[in-house]
């Protein structure tokens, strides 16, 4: 008999969360029907598994007992086992690694447990082989705040971030893009309305053309202006917009001899017109000139062109009398300057009638906003609002704006709608259409709407064919920043740092700048691993990281200046997210480290095997600041309690591996006066020393981590929690990633290729 090598470095049962999630809910009835019937008489469970459980497990997990929330009582036949894959994965691990039954209980002999394990495996394989696939059904979901902001940015070309004012999105299964918990309230609808109004107001700036006005520059009745001895001009300042102006002057003249008085009319030094005026001065004449003016203020004036030169004393001299000088305009001003966003939104073919122009604008906008082709009925429905408004005499832009407003509050924009194809029976898996696929892809990798390239491919029906190239392009595109940072932030629970507050007296270096730098480090590190297509195992164990001056100082790295981040070689002991100051701080108490919280973080976020909550009447060690001895000694006392031991045996060693990092993640060799002991023994007997030792083990025994990251990323990609029937898809992803050196690009492309991503179940019969 060959004993299988333990597949994971840590041994635990999980299943608690899923057990809990399933309790009280409807059995997935659509699915249940798809499960082939294994005759009750032929039950693998009853014949090959149940006897083993009765002998070794039922004293805590059966006959009404449910330690750690696990009871086998609810399993009656093979189908019920198959429907709860997560629990049975946990059971397999526990038996395989011999963590259960716990110490102090008789252990099954190897042959006995191997037979049981083989039976469990066989049961699942048999069902997997014959079951009709269930690809799940993503609930129609509204855009969350990030998606709304990004979509508006890509739709209109302006980064308004209107959703900052929206109520915070609720979180399910660890992420804020889960359709089931993203609800719509009256408050949110009010915010949608104001946001749409503000967005459109900012893009469609309605500029009135300047009004035509008469401007009196000079209105001097009968006053005589001599021009002797110099040809001084008469006039004043005039203000102009760009456009055509009529400039008029009323003048009279004193003639000297036969020669008429010659006059020039000038604006800004430029002669607009020259003319002759005959005397006597009691008879005035009006001259007008049409001229195109630029915007600005210039002097407008008339002046004598032929002043009397060297006239003798007493002889008449030529003179002009300016009675009035006025401007009228602007006529035919140039169109107001338009922003690129305006042109992009409101552009239409030249020379169309207003309604046709409106149709072109609205049709183009609706198709992009709804992220799919729109039919003419939909466009007409939007144009009905245009018509109403135009009838009321509102201007073109305003009426178009109202039609666009309607698009922005339509459920087709606010929700990501996937419709069942016509004539498909209930509970049938079907392939998503190309446009729906484009949407899934862009909201996964960009948190935003598809771009023109995706739309074009979808329109030609060629997106599915070109998926690998598109995934690569999209991951490299700057827009993937939103996905990478928000996934990293949520997976690693980085926002918790905002509420953690290390004691200011004990940790005086911790401040807002350092906190922000910590978050940034983890986001940049995650982004680098993805964009450089590294192994996902590098997330746990890498030789590089990113720091700026405050963080470098915190880590004891010399020579880094300024707020900007730079890539550095990871200092000894550090490297990988678990040794980032961010994670180390958010899993600490304000006064000291918490190995329990650190261990729990690893179990929950890195291995996706959350421990059950502590039993109600057991004191939490975390609060017992008065206990004697080092933290490790205190915790060992705690573990002496059998109730606590089963879980803390799993959590504590993981946490102790990081004891060389204090409660804000700075390196330390001593805790108080005692040397730090960062060694540990895992429940399976493997031992390690310090963070490097643990990381080495994690690299070797990586199955749980690869599965964990696959599950989290698939959850994020789908926007729904995973169900037992997704186990097959996850298994496939994990296998493919493991066989390709754990490349991140493979993980993403396998998720995109997976059935739950590519397909959807039609609804249950109504």
């Amino acid at each position: 008999m060959i004993r299988r090598r333990l597949p994971c470095f840590i041994l635990l049962i999980s299943g608690i969360g899923i057990l809990a999630a399933l309790r009280g809910e409807n059995e997935p009835s659509a699915f249940a029907d798809d499960v082939p019937r294994a005759g009750a008489s032929n039950s693998i469970y009853e014949k090959e598994i149940l006897p083993f459980l009765k002998k070794h497990c039922f004293s805590c997990h059966g006959n009404g007992k449910a330690k750690a929330d696990l009871s086998f009582d609810k399993f009656k036949d093979d189908k019920s086992v198959y429907l709860d894959r997560k629990t049975w994965d946990g059971v397999r691990h526990m038996v395989e690694t011999r963590e259960m039954p716990p110490e102090g209980r008789p252990k099954p002999d190897l042959a006995e447990s191997d037979a049981a394990l083989k039976a469990i495996r066989g049961l699942f394989q048999e069902f997997d082989r014959t079951a009709k696939p269930n690809v799940g059904r993503v609930t129609i979901r509204r855009l969350n705040r990030t998606e709304y902001n990004n979509t508006i940015r890509d739709l209109l070309g302006v980064d308004f971030k209107p959703a900052e004012d929206f109520p915070a999105d609720d979180v399910g299964y660890g992420f804020d893009n889960i359709g089931d918990v993203l609800s719509v309230s009256p408050l949110l609808l009010e915010k949608y309305l104001s946001a749409a109004e503000n967005i459109l107001d900012q893009v469609i700036v309605i500029v009135d053309p300047p009004k035509v006005v008469k401007q009196k520059i000079v209105a001097m009745a009968n006053k005589k202006f001599k021009t002797n001895p110099n040809p001084n001009d008469l006039g004043g300042q005039g203000t102009f917009e760009e456009g055509d102006y009529a400039i008029r002057c009323q003048v009279a003249a004193d003639q000297a001899g036969d020669e008429p008085v010659k006059v020039k009319l000038t604006a800004g030094g430029k002669i607009l017109k020259e003319f002759e005026v005959k005397g006597p001065s009691s008879k005035s004449t009006t001259q007008e000139v049409k001229v195109r003016m630029k915007q600005g203020t210039v002097r407008v004036s008339v002046a004598l062109l032929n002043p009397t030169v060297d006239a003798k004393e007493g002889t008449p001299k030529r003179a002009i009398y300016l009675r009035s000088l006025e401007t009228e305009g602007p006529f035919d001003p140039p169109p107001p300057p338009r922003s690129p966003e305006y042109k992009r939104l409101m552009g239409h073919k030249e020379g169309l009638a207003p309604r046709e122009a409106a149709r072109e604008i609205v049709a183009r906008f609706a198709a992009r906003a709804f992220r799919r082709p729109v039919d003419s009925d939909e466009v007409e429905a939007c144009l009905a609002l245009y018509d109403d408004s135009a009838k009321k005499g509102r201007r073109f832009e305003t009426s178009v704006q109202i039609a666009l407003y309607r698009v922005l509050v339509s459920p087709h924009f606010l929700f990501r709608v996937e419709l069942d194809p016509a004539d498909t029976p209930p509970s049938t898996a079907y392939m998503l259409g190309e446009f729906e696929l484009a949407n899934r892809l862009s909201y996964f990798l960009w948190n935003s709407m598809p771009d023109d390239e995706l739309f074009a491919l979808a329109a030609k029906g060629e997106l599915r064919k070109n998926l690998p190239q598109q995934v690569l392009r999209m991951t490299k595109d700057a827009k993937s920043k939103s996905f990478l940072e928000s996934f990293a932030e949520q997976w690693l629970t980085l926002r918790k740092l905002e509420t953690s507050s290390p004691d200011p007296k004990m940790f005086p270096t911790f401040n807002a700048a350092l906190r922000d730098a910590m978050i940034r480090e983890s986001q940049m590190f995650f982004t680098a691993v993805v964009r450089e297509n590294r192994s996902i195992l590098d997330l746990l164990d890498a030789d590089f990281t990113f720091v700026n001056a405050p963080l470098a100082k915190h880590y004891g790295i010399a020579g880094v200046r300024g707020k900007e981040f730079t890539r550095v070689k990871a200092p000894p002991g550090r490297g990988g997210v678990l040794t980032h100051a961010s994670i180390l701080t958010l899993t600490s108490n304000s006064l000291r480290t918490s190995p329990v919280q650190r261990g729990k973080f690893v179990l929950e976020q890195i291995l996706n095997t959350p421990p059950p909550p502590p039993p109600e009447d057991v004191p939490e060690l975390e609060d017992q600041t008065e206990l004697k001895g080092t933290l490790r000694q205190v915790m060992e006392q705690h573990r002496a309690n059998a109730v606590c031991a089963s879980c803390h045996r799993r959590m504590d060693p993981l946490g102790f591996a990081f004891e060389n990092f204090d409660a804000v993640g700075a390196w330390r060799d001593k805790d108080g006066d005692a040397d730090v002991d960062a060694s540990g023994e895992l429940p399976n007997g493997q031992t390690f020393k310090g963070p490097d030792g643990l990381k080495k083990l994690m690299r070797q025994n990586n199955t749980l981590f690869v599965r964990c990251l696959s599950e989290k990323l698939l959850t994020y990609a789908l926007g729904r929690g995973l169900e037992p029937y997704d186990g097959r898809a996850v298994e496939k992803i994990v296998d493919a990633v493991s066989q390709d050196d754990y490349r991140f690009a493979t993980l993403i492309s396998e998720i995109v290729k997976s059935d739950p991503f590519q397909m959807r179940m039609t609804g249950e019969s109504k």
């Binding site: 109520p167 660890g174 719509v184 609808l189 304000s590 006064l591 109600e616 609060d623």
Partner: protein, 443 residues
């Protein structure tokens, strides 16, 4: 680094002095007979998390003759306005077979009285909450049906509590079993929602006209879409549809109701103050202002989310609230827990002072209010939900005789208090959650 002290900005400047404009009879709504109607009754449900160290909360004695405990000391001045309850229980806070997750349940069941469904996301389910029972029936009498306020901006990650979605801890208000109502935490947004964001009246009229026509149009989109969707998809779209109808009604009411009579010198808040005390007081200011101007008559407020690990350094507590709430009867923890409760109660006393400063006819605004203040936990150490700390302030427009300590049989449903309040608010015979009927002897 010492905590920065930030002076309380006078955002609602001189609120105390200037809010106290006497309510003139002319401002009261007239009845059909042309007589002045009584001032309306208002109702607030305020929840604080993690209960209290009960011996320092529950008084000894009975009726009007009881001794004020240390936690209740901040209410000495309001003793004649206060009803102290004993014996009330939030049974659905307990697991009842659902295992761990008392914080999510204590919050989800507080105003609903139902066992919320244990799920991390799919098919979340609670029940209609007391405030929404009132809002559904009488919310159409004011500009805003109801106001939902909270303090926490942090949204948690994933399961907030042992397999329960965070949604149960993020709100007290459920419009129906599957529609939680989000809370506002930003005072500026609350102000804008109550009073508009400073648009002039003609602008508002045009805006509302356009809004109405747009809403009318998208309703038909949603209806035709709804016909093509299945189960949980339809529920989401129903939320959208009922939200639209709500906004439509609000627009229609805005034209029917008399203009809001804003006290002078009230200005729009800047945003979320960085100082927590100031933030909390500002939320109370806004609630008082909403009641005073009759923009709404129903409000809920979470002083902090259930299970919150907020550190109340301003009262010398450097450990997280949740952490010390598992006090294990250690004196140091009990002192801290008490300090937090006293802090919460002092802030509530501030709110009461605001309400009491406003005259309405013969009475004060506080007299016309029912301000319920309590927690879904009693002793947090063991997640007890029996014999909860619950107080009621105000006279409900003369229907309640405060100044007494009323003990009810242990395990009397908390919902029965909500039913009693709803009865006085104008919703008789309300039945929801685990309520069995109104409490005896309130008046």
């Amino acid at each position: 680094m010492t905590p920065r002290r930030i002076s309380r900005r006078t955002v609602l400047r001189g609120a105390g002095a200037t809010i106290a404009v006497p309510l003139l009879d002319a401002m009261l709504p007239k009845t059909a007979l042309g007589q002045t109607a009584a001032a309306p009754r208002r109702m607030a449900f305020i929840m604080f998390p993690l209960g209290a160290w009960m011996p320092s909360w529950m008084p000894t004695g009975n009726g009007p003759d009881y001794t004020l405990t240390p936690c209740l000391e901040p209410f000495a001045e309001y003793r004649k306005d206060m009803t102290v309850f004993g014996g009330l229980t939030c049974d659905k806070g307990y697991g009842n077979g659902d295992g761990a997750g008392d914080h999510a349940r204590a919050s989800g069941a507080y105003l609903t009285g139902v066992q919320v469904r244990k799920t991390a996301g799919a098919n979340i389910q609670a029940g209609i909450s007391a405030d929404q029972v009132a809002a559904a029936r009488l919310g159409d009498r004011t500009r805003i049906r109801s106001l939902e306020l909270a303090m926490d901006r942090y949204r948690g990650t994933g399961n907030c509590d042992s397999g329960y979605s965070c949604v149960y801890e993020h709100t007290l208000s459920w419009r129906n079993a599957t529609s939680p109502l989000p809370t506002e935490v930003n005072p500026r947004h609350v102000f804008d929602r109550l009073f508009g964001s400073g648009q002039t009246d003609t602008q508002t009229v045009v805006r509302n006209e356009i809004r109405a026509s747009v809403l009318d149009a998208v309703i038909s989109d949603a209806r035709s879409l709804n016909r093509r969707l299945g189960g949980s998809d339809q529920r989401k779209l129903d939320q959208y549809l009922s939200g639209i109808r709500d906004v439509e009604q609000r627009i229609a009411r805005a034209t029917e109701l008399p203009p809001v009579d804003m006290p002078r010198d009230v200005s729009r808040p800047e945003g979320v103050p960085s100082d927590l005390t100031e933030h909390m007081r500002l939320m109370y200011d806004l609630m008082a202002l909403a009641f005073q101007t009759d923009v709404t008559r129903i409000a809920t407020f979470m002083v902090a989310r259930e299970g919150s690990d907020q550190r109340y350094r301003m009262v010398g507590v450097n450990e997280g609230h949740h952490t010390i709430s598992h006090h294990q009867n250690r004196p140091a923890n009990l002192v801290r827990l008490k300090a937090i409760n006293v802090f919460f109660n002092q802030q509530l006393a501030y709110f009461l002072s605001r309400l009491k400063a406003v005259s309405e006819g013969e009475r004060t605004l506080l007299d016309n209010c029912m301000i319920a203040f309590g927690s879904g936990h009693a002793d947090p150490n063991r997640h007890s939900h029996t014999d909860l700390p619950v107080l009621l302030f105000g006279r409900g427009g003369g229907t309640i005789t405060p100044g007494r300590y009323l003990r009810y049989p242990l395990r009397t449903p908390l919902n029965n208090l909500w039913i009693s309040m709803l009865e006085r608010f104008g919703v008789p015979n309300a039945r929801f959650g685990d309520g069995t009927g109104p409490l005896e002897g309130l008046s």
